[in-house]
């Protein structure tokens, strides 16, 4: 398995070098995404300035929530964004090249592409988490975030892989995949305190949005090992499901010789 991650690392470095060939686009994408994220953060800060705290959540927690979200989105797709490209690979028949590769198919596929904007997310996410630690005066929170980040990133990737396997069942599945993925992703950027009990259960255990957003922040705030364990357990279960769904779906792959035609 270490060999697989070594190869994934080399593929990532190669993709990074390829992206850096276009210097202006490279910088613009990273900085552009950071500016976009800052605008979203500003809206939340404005909201809490007007509304005050909501069920114990305020500006500080929003720094933690967005920091966590951006880090796991950024690390997931800034390092392994191939899952988002799977519909294109399947539709155009370029998935062939991964099947011809002597590597682990799951890792090879997700490592095949990296989202440059995701690197911008990851950088800003780290900055926001550091700001949160400074604001709360808790250096220990950084350790908690570090303990949670691998689990939330794995969960993020697993859900994206499951959504992308729609490509093996449906033609032109890119929009379907994005719709499914946004259903998961959108609730993750809202404070968990806003969710009533039933919705909380649904968005932790069935659509695990809060498990990459609100739940990790709660774990950091309360230093709860139980919540930390729950996040890791949910991530492990979704990882196993994603592996099973991915390999089950690959059997349906029909390849193809896609030729574009424009009228």
């Amino acid at each position: 398995m270490i060999a697989e991650f070594n190869v994934a690392h080399i593929i990532w470095l190669t993709n990074l070098r390829a992206a850096m060939e276009f210097r202006v686009a490279f910088v613009m994408q990273i900085v552009g995404m950071m500016i976009n994220d800052c605008a979203f953060l500003a809206l939340w800060i404005l909201f809490f300035q007007i509304m005050g705290n909501v069920n114990g959540w305020g500006g500080q927690q929003i720094f933690a929530l967005l920091g966590m979200n951006l880090m796991c989105y950024g690390f997931a797709f800034g390092f392994a964004g191939g899952s988002l490209w799977m519909p294109r690979y399947v539709e155009q028949g370029t998935f062939d090249s991964f099947l011809l590769s002597p590597r682990n198919l799951y890792i090879r596929t997700i490592a095949s592409h990296f989202d440059l904007a995701g690197l911008g997310d990851a950088i800003l996410g780290v900055i926001l988490i550091i700001v949160y630690a400074v604001m709360t005066g808790s250096a220990l929170s950084l350790v908690w975030f570090a303990a949670l980040l691998p689990a939330t990133t794995i969960l993020f990737l697993s859900v994206s892989v499951i959504c992308s396997t729609a490509a093996f069942y449906l033609p032109d599945s890119n929009h379907t995949m994005m719709a499914m993925f946004k259903t998961f992703m959108n609730p993750a950027v809202y404070p968990s305190a806003l969710f009533p009990k039933v919705a909380r259960f649904v968005f932790i255990f069935i659509i695990p949005s809060l498990t990459v957003g609100g739940l990790p922040v709660e774990a950091v705030m309360s230093h709860s090992f139980l919540t930390l364990g729950l996040v890791w357990l949910i991530a492990a279960i979704w990882l196993l499901i994603s592996i099973a769904v991915f390999y089950g779906s690959v059997r349906r792959y029909e390849s193809g010789n896609f030729v574009g035609l424009r009228g």
Partner: protein
């Protein structure tokens, strides 16, 4: 030793067919399905070191067969082994032992020099940096890549790119090479040079070649045996020489009279006046 064994191989695809007589809503809600048999119960063996052409019209099942042999597609039924391995059960082990070139696909990194693709594929095939450097040097010489090996792939001509594609596909010294229309879109000079190199690899290194092509020149230059497929079945399987004798014994010759040049016409008109 046998490089490829195929027994009763079948591949079917299911396709939704739009019925012109039905309404659009009915076609959308309850489309009729048609089962297409792309490969229909084929069997053959290929000994090690042989160069085989697998030819036929578009849609005959050539690419589908290659894709099953390389582990890309699961067969509907039938058995096969390639280099002693089951392509779909031992996909990763097989990938270390075969090389593939699909003329319509690129596996090189478009924005980086060819040299970077050598290094990437060397790592993917678990070769040591020293082995990669040695193989890279050999292949650059063999395929005459020195002139453009440090140029980004997107800046290469089609002929240069195809040479680079196949060189990179050979970095791990495969025992069997599957080539699906390797010379598609190449000019005569590029085709000739690619055929020469492939022929040399087959003769000197004993590498098995399994080739599909619509170009008779590829087959004549490289392959000692030809299988012709049509509608998913093998209809002819014999030596390329025998095939030429049996099926091309009578060659129609088209004669075209060369038109006189403008200078000759003018000379005719004005010369006659004189």
């Amino acid at each position: 030793m046998t490089a490829i064994i195929v027994e009763n191989l079948v591949k079917t695809f299911s396709l939704a067919i739009r019925q012109p007589t039905q309404g659009r809503l009915r076609n959308f809600l309850r489309p009729e399905k048609e089962v297409i048999t792309a490969v229909d119960n084929i069997s053959f063996t290929v000994p090690e070191g042989q160069a085989v052409a697998f030819i036929g019209p578009n849609g005959a099942g050539k690419s589908t067969t290659i894709k099953m042999l390389t582990g890309i597609l699961y067969p509907t039924s039938g058995e096969m082994t390639v280099a002693g391995l089951h392509p779909y059960k031992n996909r990763r082990e097989l990938a270390f032992r075969i090389g593939t070139l699909f003329g319509q696909r690129s596996q090189l990194v478009p924005n980086l020099p060819v040299r970077d693709s050598f290094e990437l594929f060397g790592a993917i095939y678990e070769l040591s940096p020293a082995t990669v450097r040695r193989r890279q040097k050999e292949l650059i010489g063999l395929f005459d890549l020195a002139e453009f090996v440090d140029r980004p792939v997107r800046k290469l001509s089609l002929g240069q790119r195809m040479r680079a594609e196949i060189a990179v596909a050979l970095i791990h010294k495969p025992e069997i090479i599957f080539l699906d229309e390797p010379t598609i879109g190449l000019d005569i000079v590029a085709k000739k040079s690619l055929r020469e190199v492939l022929g040399r690899i087959n003769r000197e290194e004993g590498v098995t070649l399994f080739l599909t092509s619509h170009d008779v020149g590829d087959i004549e230059a490289l392959c000692t045996r030809t299988m012709v497929v049509n509608h998913g079945r093998i209809v002819v399987d014999e030596s390329t020489d025998a095939l030429k004798k049996d099926y091309f014994a009578h060659r129609p010759v088209k004669m075209v009279a060369v038109e006189p040049s403008l200078e000759e016409i003018i000379q005719d008109i004005y010369g006659a006046k004189k």
